[in-house]
């Protein structure tokens, strides 16, 4: 039997070399427990993923299979025609699609990065320090998540109009910065960082901002990534239809929405194929970002050793 002290020394040694494979076996996992777990997850995974499978299968169907009822999940003659049609229609819009894609990219990049920087800078002091007003700000942020947006829309519209941001991308970006969801998420993760980590840096003479970027942000990377995905998704799907009126200023989400409802050209069921292809494409973009980000989280997990 190793003594606890020995184990601790061993742990410290491993910590130095960043080796975090567990060296004491975790509490026992029974074989049957694993089997039940696996089966349950498989079942749940299928259930939750079913709508996505359906969506993809629908987009691969030729027109004569699309309207069979009840819908079949397996496509007998899978085709990419719907995607081809989707691209063809987009290639012939009055406002070039590159323009709306650029608009979307502008909003998504500036919005997401800006939000993460501004919100994380605010989350760190609120999570780790007490100063006059901090408790009040914390309460305000939690409560703000609970107010329905329908009734705040009109005051918001008037503010945005008053600031002269109507019909520009800023009408989507700037209010998006103030979304509290990502901030609240990051703040909750930052509360777990041990004080000693920051005190050490403070003794070394680092200021708050420097501690934030060199210590806090790397430690809470899983939260940053999650917040990024959320804010990315909300900007990507934001059609901005209440604030942007000039066609050339509209984003990709708006074009796709119009296309899916058959407003760009043509109407009715002949557009069902394009509509289902567009749903998959709108979904695929955040999914790819999510996958890239997920991968990134894996490589940064070693920093969790910084926790006490």
């Amino acid at each position: 039997m190793e003594t606890i002290n020995n184990l601790y020394q061993k742990y410290l040694k491993r910590k130095k070399t960043n080796d975090f494979t567990p060296f004491v076996k975790k509490s026992q996992r029974s074989f049957w427990g694993n089997v039940i777990l696996g089966l349950f997850l498989l079942l749940m995974g299928f259930t939750f993923f079913f709508p996505v499978i359906y969506m993809v299968s629908q987009s691969l169907k030729p027109m004569n299979e699309m309207f069979i009822f009840p819908p079949r999940i397996l496509v007998s003659n899978p085709t990419l025609d719907n995607y081809r049609d989707f691209v063809n229609v987009l290639a012939n819009t009055v406002v070039p699609v590159t323009r709306s894609l650029f608009n979307s990219a502008f909003v998504v990049v500036i919005g997401s990065v800006g939000h993460i920087v501004i919100a994380s800078l605010c989350a760190y002091p609120l999570a780790k320090y007490r100063f006059p007003g901090s408790a009040f700000c914390n309460q305000l942020i939690v409560y703000s998540l609970m107010f329905n947006a329908t009734v705040t829309m009109i005051p918001n519209f008037l503010t945005i109009a008053g600031l002269g941001m109507l019909d520009t991308q800023w009408a989507i970006i700037i209010p998006g910065f103030a979304s509290t969801l990502g901030l609240y998420l990051m703040k909750n993760f930052m509360e777990q960082i041990p004080d000693s980590l920051m005190e050490a840096a403070q003794i070394d003479g680092a200021g708050y901002v420097r501690i934030h970027f060199t210590i806090v942000m790397p430690v809470v990377k899983p939260a940053l990534v999650t917040a990024f995905i959320l804010v990315f998704q909300s900007f990507w799907t934001n059609t901005g239809d209440k604030f942007i009126y000039t066609e050339a200023n509209k984003g990709f989400a708006y074009v796709v929405q119009q296309l899916a409802s058959g407003k760009v050209s043509g109407v009715g069921s002949s557009y069902a194929g394009i509509s289902s292809a567009s749903a998959v494409i709108m979904f695929a973009v955040p999914l790819v970002v999510f996958l890239i980000m997920q991968n990134n989280v894996v490589s940064t997990m070693a920093t969790s050793g910084m926790k006490e």
């Binding site: 320090y129 305000l140 942020i141 009109i154 005051p155 995905i229």
Partner: protein, 311 residues
């Protein structure tokens, strides 16, 4: 809170606060950019909406102060609102705890798996949230009124029912459909934060737990994992409260608005009715204020429960 034994004079307290504020100037500078935008785009509109709730504002004409008239009407004259409250409670009581526990359990199970499989599963569970409204068309197929709809056909083949159930039109069933669809979509941001939170629990804690005599994964869950991720549990709770008490859009797209005989009419449906269809902003704001207090109340309750975790 216990009263301090000695009294600090008001003047001294102001002095102390000012001193603290002076020391915290860099912190104020850090939070300023967000807090200013937050004040303009979140706090101000909310305060404005609270003010509207005491007026007869209808977007076109200037608002007239009417006192508590909107609230009186809501509780005494509007029987549909009472139905909406009842339905919201039924939905929230099932979808809230159900979705919360399910997303935690799934996140925890994912963590037990090898890393790659776990990551794939995380994506699979979260995917419906990313697909957004596209998912709802699938529910419409599953719960189709047609006797050959997925669910009806399955029930018939299993010999449970003889005739098709009108899932999307029958007063008795629409709320069931709304609940099931909401549960289906409950793997949202709370789930993601659970996954990240569980990963963040230090291995050393589990090792210490094993030394202290934790025998199986259930004990490990209760004594090590849960207490170590309280911030995430809290975050998930707030998300669950806000989403389960504002179920409404799913019903709109599945069973239509208004739902058959208001059988799945929720507070948010009622709010949207007045806020974006009838444009009675004052009345809609009063509904929003009531919903806001319901959520705060639920939040206090849950926080009390969460304090018991790991003890």
């Amino acid at each position: 809170m216990a009263k301090p034994k000695y009294q600090i004079s008001f003047k001294r307290r102001v002095q102390l606060t000012l001193r603290d504020m002076k020391r915290s100037v860099p912190l104020y500078v850090m939070i300023a950019p967000f807090m200013i935008l937050f004040a303009i785009f979140v706090v101000y509109p909310v305060l404005k909406a609270v003010w509207y709730s005491f007026t007869d504002y209808n977007v076109l004409e200037a608002a007239n102060f009417v006192g508590l008239e909107n609230y009186r009407k809501l509780f005494l004259d509007d029987s549909i609102f009472i139905t909406a409250i009842k339905n919201t409670f039924i939905i929230a009581v099932i979808v809230g705890p159900g979705g919360y526990i399910l997303s935690f359990l799934l996140a925890w199970m994912i963590n037990e798996l090898p890393h790659t499989i776990g990551s794939v599963l995380t994506v699979i569970f979260y995917a419906p949230s990313m697909a957004g409204s596209a998912v709802i068309t699938v529910f419409a197929q599953i719960f189709s009124n047609d006797s050959n709809g997925y669910l009806n056909a399955a029930l018939r083949n299993l010999g449970i029912t003889q005739e098709a159930i009108l899932w999307l039109s029958d007063e008795d069933y629409v709320i069931v459909v709304v609940i099931l669809a909401s549960l289906w979509m409950s793997m949202g941001v709370g789930f993601l934060s659970f996954v990240a939170g569980i990963k963040g629990v230090d291995e050393a804690q589990y090792e210490a737990g094993a030394i202290d005599g934790i025998r199986n994964r259930w004990q490990e869950l209760w004594y090590v994992t849960l207490p170590n991720m309280k911030p995430q549990l809290l975050f998930g709770a707030v998300m669950t409260i806000t989403s389960s008490l504002s179920v409404g859009g799913v019903g709109d797209s599945l069973v239509g608005f208004p739902s058959p005989n208001y059988a799945s009419h929720t507070i948010v449906n009622h709010l949207n009715d007045y806020g974006s269809i009838r444009m009675e902003m004052g009345y809609a704001s009063a509904i929003a204020v009531i919903l806001f207090f319901l959520m705060i109340f639920a939040n206090m309750l849950i926080q009390k429960l969460l304090r018991k975790v790991g003890t």
